[in-house]
């Protein structure tokens, strides 16, 4: 099969940057933002292709560990998105998430990681257009920052760690 040329309205340098291997991981709550991303897809709202989505039941499930490990291993950006406050499928999960992520954000510079590489946001299942906006803006932000060198875990080893389950 032949490759078709890109016809999207995404920035011109997008393809080039993608070839550098920009990778963004998105942790999306199953009930709101995952649905919002689906809605954006169903409506064919074009988005940059750097984002890889991990489906989680609720942003309350978000352990800061997931964000930390992603960034340490060299994922270039982490986006967490859930239900709007007061609209949580589990009543209060996103309130816990908001507190944890605010606290965690303050901790990122101590790990040697630019806080701009992490963002959390609220997008409901009906807000396909909002999702497109969030993804596009965050992807552009990460492209401006360039690849994440990760955190040097052992001296002399600057390569990305490929497996690191505890």
């Amino acid at each position: 099969m032949t490759d078709s040329s890109p016809r999207s309205s995404a920035p011109a340098d997008e393809t080039a940057a993608t070839k550098q291997g920009i990778k963004i991981v998105g942790f999306l709550c199953n009930w709101c933002s995952y649905g919002g991303a689906d809605t954006a897809g169903v409506c064919r709202f074009k988005q940059p292709t750097d984002l890889r989505v991990v489906r989680i039941p609720c942003t309350g499930r978000m352990d800061p560990l997931f964000i930390a490990k992603s960034l340490i291993y060299g994922v270039d950006g982490v986006l967490v998105s859930g239900c709007h406050p007061r609209d949580c499928h589990y009543a209060v999960g996103n309130f816990y998430a908001r507190r944890r992520m605010e606290a965690f954000k303050a901790f990122l510079p101590f790990m040697g990681i630019d806080t701009q590489r992490f963002k959390y946001t609220w997008v409901s299942a009906s807000e396909g257009q909002q999702w497109q906006k969030v993804v596009t803006e965050f992807s552009e932000q990460i492209h401006r920052l360039g690849p994440n060198p990760g955190v040097r875990l052992r001296s002399g080893d600057n390569s990305k760690v490929s497996s690191g389950l505890r």
């Binding site: 999207s8 995404a10 954006a40 064919r44 609209d87 999960g93 389950l165």
Partner: protein
């Protein structure tokens, strides 16, 4: 583990912008993957058979399908692998349609992304464990929130099927907006004649418990087993005693109370039964206007009441009901037109809303069914209707079409001609939206048979001239400005979500859109279900709807409830938290954070305390998992290892 990967072409939906053959061939190189292929429509019957065949032929222990959103077809494929003998949780989906092929046209980047997503899914699947549901009993009682026509229909359908129904209505009467209408389009049926018998049925069915003048205080529990607290609001009348004779109303000296039922067109007594057919036919004292309750000497109603039902000391009471399913049928409110300066900002007394005009037309309304205008009681001869007031207008935050206004204007214009044959009606409209059965014919009848003048264009200004109003607008078809001297202007105010819809949604744990309408589970395939199991929707709380659609949805929701109640036991969701007792340090943090009280202490031999999850109460949010310091409590099917495996695969 032996894993099989099935990449769906979805016709050209995926294959159009993703090289699915390449995704499959790359997947074959992943560790543990022993079989990978692409298929035209994996969700089709032959597609599912292909999965089942491969499970048998290659001895697969886990399956990954890269296709559409798991919110769409995860249950389909889980059933398919289960039929082939696998545990249905040994299955993962990679979403390469909504999240890949539909959002970008760069085939190379899309293919790379699809490969990544498949690798992540395979990575997670390696950590999957078979999970098993248990069974729990269903409480076969239904709660219907809202007593409008949708709620009534749902309640009656279920009650006919032998289900115990609890109906909660915040107003003092049931019937909702439909009870206020005079006639209904397109048949010009008398509204109270078709609704009245249904309202009476609700009050007479032995298995319907009606709480009017009551609101939902709190809801806890889950499908099959909800506990609901209902606040019975203070009415100052003991309804068990009140016979609805109306003697109190006749003698009440406070005559200037707000008449909510007549939309403020008349006045009511402070103690009031809003309309003759009201169900329940019980009096309520409006504390704002009652002389006795405002410190003045009165108490006439208490003296006159033949059954001594008046109780000025009454307080709100809370009752608790246990139900197995909930139907939300909370209806809608009408747009407040005072934001429109061009229509007089609510200051012109003869600019009224459609629902006010409905009360004027009604024989039991404030003017006894004679069309008169509110300012001076004169019979109008020139009447202007303006459509799309608070509909299809981004500037007031209402971009959607309310769906019913075009039709009710046509109906009101026809009725106006019936009441006042010498009158002239004008309708300013943007477009005529009449897509229902016999709807367009009805609008044509208004135009052709009843001579209603339809002017396509917006109104720019309404101002007073003498005792009439001048309506200035444009006729965009003729391209001219038009001016109509009108005696009465009726604004077709649009539909908006019911006040308090958001607060109730939080109690029900269901989602709502940016306008406050409740979200259905799937706009096409699951229109009356919500994402919270056991909670269903009926009527305009889900979006603007006319009466036929509301009734249809009420019946649809009722059938969903009855199919749930056809089972004595339902399967629980096994994707719940589980405590590894060896790691638990008994700090109790999980017990503190659990939103559902699903974790409790358990005492082992020797008085050692450990946390224990009640699987039937746990909803699977995972807050405890994220909180637990030694990670002893793990949310099954979304464990730390499973989520981190996906991250690891992405970094690989």
């Amino acid at each position: 583990m032996r894993i099989g990967v099935f990449v769906c072409n979805c016709g050209t939906n995926i294959a159009g912008t993703v090289d699915t053959a390449k995704v499959a061939s790359e997947a074959l190189a992943f560790a543990d993957v022993v079989y990978a292929t692409n298929y035209m429509y994996t969700c089709s019957e032959p597609g599912q058979q292909e999965i089942q065949r491969a499970i048998g032929e290659y001895g697969l222990q886990g399956v990954v399908v890269a296709a559409c959103s798991p919110r769409m077809h995860e249950p389909t494929f889980r059933r398919a692998v289960e039929k082939a003998g696998l545990n249905k949780y040994m299955f993962e989906m990679a979403n390469i349609r909504e999240h890949v092929s539909w959002i970008g046209n760069d085939r190379e980047a899309n293919t790379r992304k699809a490969v990544d997503l498949v690798r992540m899914a395979v990575g997670k699947l390696r950590f999957n464990q078979p999970l098993f549901s248990s069974k729990m009993p269903v409480n076969k009682r239904l709660l219907v929130i809202g007593g409008g026509v949708a709620g009534i229909q749902a309640a009656l359908d279920c009650a006919d099927g032998g289900v115990d129904v609890v109906m909660v209505e915040r107003k003092q009467y049931i019937g909702g907006k439909m009870a206020q209408l005079d006639k209904t389009f397109p048949t010009i049926d008398c509204s109270s004649c078709i609704l009245g018998p249904k309202m009476v049925d609700v009050s007479q069915k032995e298995n319907i418990t009606l709480y009017a003048a009551s609101e939902i205080e709190s809801i806890s529990g889950y499908i099959g087993n909800f506990t609901v607290e209902i606040r019975k609001k203070t009415t100052y009348v003991n309804w068990d005693a009140c016979t609805g004779c109306g003697a109190c109303m006749e003698k009440c000296p406070a005559k200037k109370a707000e008449d909510y039922f007549n939309e403020g067109l008349g006045t009511a007594r402070a103690i009031n039964i809003p309309f003759p057919q009201a169900i329940p036919k019980k009096a309520v004292i409006d504390a704002q206007f009652c002389r006795q309750l405002n410190g003045k000497k009165c108490g006439v109603c208490a003296k006159i009441c033949p059954v001594k039902a008046i109780d000025f000391e009454m307080k709100d009471t809370i009752v608790t009901e246990k139900v197995g399913a909930i139907i939300a049928a909370t209806g809608y409110d009408l747009f407040d037109h005072s934001v429109y300066g061009e229509y007089g900002a609510g200051r012109l007394p003869d600019v009224i809303t459609g629902i006010q005009y409905e009360r004027i037309l009604s024989a039991s309304g404030p003017y006894g069914g004679h069309i008169r205008r509110p300012s001076d009681g004169k019979e109008p001869t020139e009447i202007v209707f303006i459509s799309c007031v608070g509909s299809r207008d981004q500037s007031v935050g209402r971009p959607y079409c309310s769906g019913v206004c075009c039709m009710y204007i046509a109906k009101q214009a026809i009725l106006t001609r019936d009441h006042l044959p010498e009158s002239n009606s004008y309708v300013f409209y943007m477009d005529i939206r009449a897509p229902g059965k016999n709807y367009d014919e009805f609008v044509r009848r208004a135009q052709e048979e009843y001579g209603v003048q339809y002017i396509r264009g917006r109104v720019g200004k309404i101002y007073q001239r003498g005792d009439r109003m001048v309506v200035q607008g444009a006729d965009t078809l003729l391209g001219v400005q038009v001016e109509v001297e009108a005696d009465l202007v009726v604004l077709a105010t649009g539909v908006e979500s019911s006040s308090g819809a958001g607060e109730l949604a939080e109690k029900l744990r269901i989602s709502y859109d940016q306008y406050g309408f409740y979200m259905e589970s799937h706009p096409k395939l699951r229109p009356v279900e919500t994402n919270t199991a056991g909670v269903y929707l009926a009527g305009a709380c889900q979006g603007p709807k006319d009466i036929p659609s509301s009734v249809a949805q009420g019946s649809a929701a009722a059938s969903k409830v009855q199919s749930l109640f056809a089972h004595d036991m339902i399967e629980t969701n096994p994707q719940v938290a589980l405590v590894n007792e060896r790691n638990c340090i008994a700090c109790g943090k999980c017990i503190q954070v659990c939103p559902f009280g699903a974790i409790q202490w358990k005492e082992l031999r020797g008085g050692i305390k450990k946390a224990e999850v009640l699987p039937s109460v746990c909803q699977g949010c995972g807050v405890c998992n994220a909180t637990c310091p030694p990670k002893a409590v793990q949310l099954q099917h979304a464990t730390d290892n499973q989520i981190l495996a996906e991250v690891n695969e992405l970094c690989a």
